[in-house]
């Protein structure tokens, strides 16, 4: 393919587990610096779509492109490993359950991959860790183990860990869903800061207010298809589809 591709481009993404089709022919493109939110009920396929972007959940059909390179190439095992690790170094991911490495301190969590994959010296790595942890407000806890941190603090370290690889794109998979309500804001605050720096982000979330305030575009997914998409000002206030309206209404009731 030689045609001009967008920064992130998903073409005809299809994914099934056995007979269950979770993604049905989804196409999506994201420009550099854009922030895209994906909303939808559980089982709508929104996490699967996000996890297809770095091939964590490989698609069964369709293509994912990042910055002109196809992510999900069919290669021999050895070549695929090399290729995908190269790609994944450029894509940061933040998980619902943090997935910090429990046997490493915050510093070690942040520096392990850069040291290993980019050959940073200990001094360079330490500087990087201080920089990234400072950015998420966790510098004071740099030598704490994950078990000594609250959920919100863990998630901030996890974000710093992803940022330390200097990714071109950040994926957030329900980053605040597992947090106690009072801890959500500290993580949202960090994500807002990233938005101000024009980091390209794709955010799967169930927090409508947050999506409305930071996203340039919001997608509503249901049963494996993108039902509706648009700027949050339109999608949240004036949805055209009944399914979207239904979802937003239920969600609003739940929030009250």
């Amino acid at each position: 393919m030689t045609d001009q591709t967008n920064f992130v481009e998903i073409r005809h993404a299809q994914k099934s587990f056995g007979t269950l089709e979770v993604l049905k022919d989804i196409s999506l493109s994201v420009e550099r610096g854009q922030i895209v939110g994906i909303i939808g009920s559980s089982g709508s396929g929104k996490s699967t779509l996000l996890r297809a972007i770095n091939d964590l959940d490989p698609l069964t059909g369709g293509e994912v492109w990042l910055d002109g390179v196809q992510v999900n190439q069919a290669l021999s095992h050895r070549q695929y490993e090399k290729h995908i690790n190269q790609m994944r170094q450029q894509v940061g991911m933040v998980f619902q359950h943090f997935n910090l490495f429990p046997h490493m301190t915050a510093r070690e969590n942040v520096t392990m991959a850069p040291k290993m994959l980019k050959g940073l010296s200990q001094a360079e790595a330490d500087k990087l860790a201080e920089e990234q942890l400072d950015k998420v407000g966790m510098l004071e806890r740099i030598d704490y183990y994950p078990s000594q941190l609250s959920g919100g603090q863990k998630q901030r370290v996890a974000i710093a860990r992803a940022l330390a690889m200097k990714p071109k794109l950040m994926l957030f998979d329900e980053a605040t869903s597992a947090l106690d309500p009072e801890l959500v804001e500290e993580v949202n605050h960090v994500m807002r800061k990233l938005a101000e720096e024009h980091m390209t982000m794709i955010i799967v979330t169930h927090e409508m207010d947050f999506a409305a305030s930071v996203c340039d575009r919001v997608l509503f997914m249901d049963q494996g298809v993108v039902v509706e998409e648009g700027p949050p000002s339109l999608l949240f206030t004036n949805p055209t589809q009944t399914r979207t309206r239904e979802f937003l209404r239920k969600h609003l009731e739940g929030a009250k």
């Binding site: 770095n54 964590l56 095992h77 490993e81 690790n85 190269q86 790609m87 994944r88 170094q89 894509v91 940061g92 991911m93 998980f95 359950h97 943090f98 997935n99 910090l100 490495f101 429990p102 046997h103 392990m112 991959a113 290993m116 994959l117 183990y145 078990s147 996890a158 860990r161 992803a162 690889m165």
Partner: protein, 210 residues
């Protein structure tokens, strides 16, 4: 009674030596077995599973006999000590394979995903993230395997290795004092097992995350 002590002490030392060598070979076989069972190659997975199933599905005593008495027929000539260490080591390895494999697969899937999304290769992930965590989970169950293996060295009495049980059996026969001989050998086994258990517990505390 006094006359038998030196023989029992010597035999106890041989039991210790046998246990150490068997444990080392067992751990090696266990690590290889676990690697095979977790391999992405179906043939290796099958071989690993067959090793575990056959060794765990047949008596260690028979395995020793095949090796020691049957070995010469297929050109493997081992003395009783060598056959004992190899036979018991390979046997313990099958149990340790399952212990090690269990500890590896029990690491949360999220740990693998997080490693892979950072761009780590399979090996880097294993070495930096999975193994350091599963090593902590392994110490205790491997301790149980080692405890069983120490007691299994008694089987070598059946191929005339002069370890503790053989010595006890010999003096039960000649002194007709089975309870005394049993107690003497028993106490020595208990000491070996107690010391090993303390060692394992110490190691277990040492590797835990603060």
């Amino acid at each position: 009674m006094l006359k038998v002590y030196p023989f029992f002490l010597e035999a106890a030392w041989l039991t210790v030596l046998l246990s150490i060598l068997t444990a080392l070979l067992g751990l090696t076989c266990g690590a290889l077995g676990a690697a095979a069972r977790l391999s992405r190659f179906a043939l290796l997975r099958f071989l690993g599973a067959a090793y575990v199933s056959v060794i765990r599905g047949t008596p260690a005593l028979i395995q020793l006999f095949i090796l020691y008495f049957g070995g010469p027929q297929i050109g493997i000539q081992l003395d009783a000590f060598e056959a004992g260490v190899i036979g018991l080591g390979v046997n313990a390895g099958a149990y340790m394979t399952e212990t090690i494999r269990g500890a590896i697969i029990s690491i949360d899937k999220g740990q693998r995903e997080a490693s892979r999304t950072l761009g780590l290769s399979q090996w880097q992930m294993m070495y930096k993230v999975v193994l350091p965590q599963s090593a902590r989970l392994m110490v205790r169950p491997l301790g149980v395997n080692i405890n069983a293996l120490i007691k299994a060295t008694a089987l070598l009495a059946a191929i005339s290795v002069v370890e503790l049980t053989y010595t006890a059996q010999r003096y039960i026969g000649s002194t007709y004092k089975p309870f005394e001989m049993f107690l003497l050998a028993g106490v020595l086994y208990m000491i070996i097992i107690y010391v090993t258990g303390r060692g394992i517990a110490w190691l277990d505390r040492k590797v835990q995350i603060t």
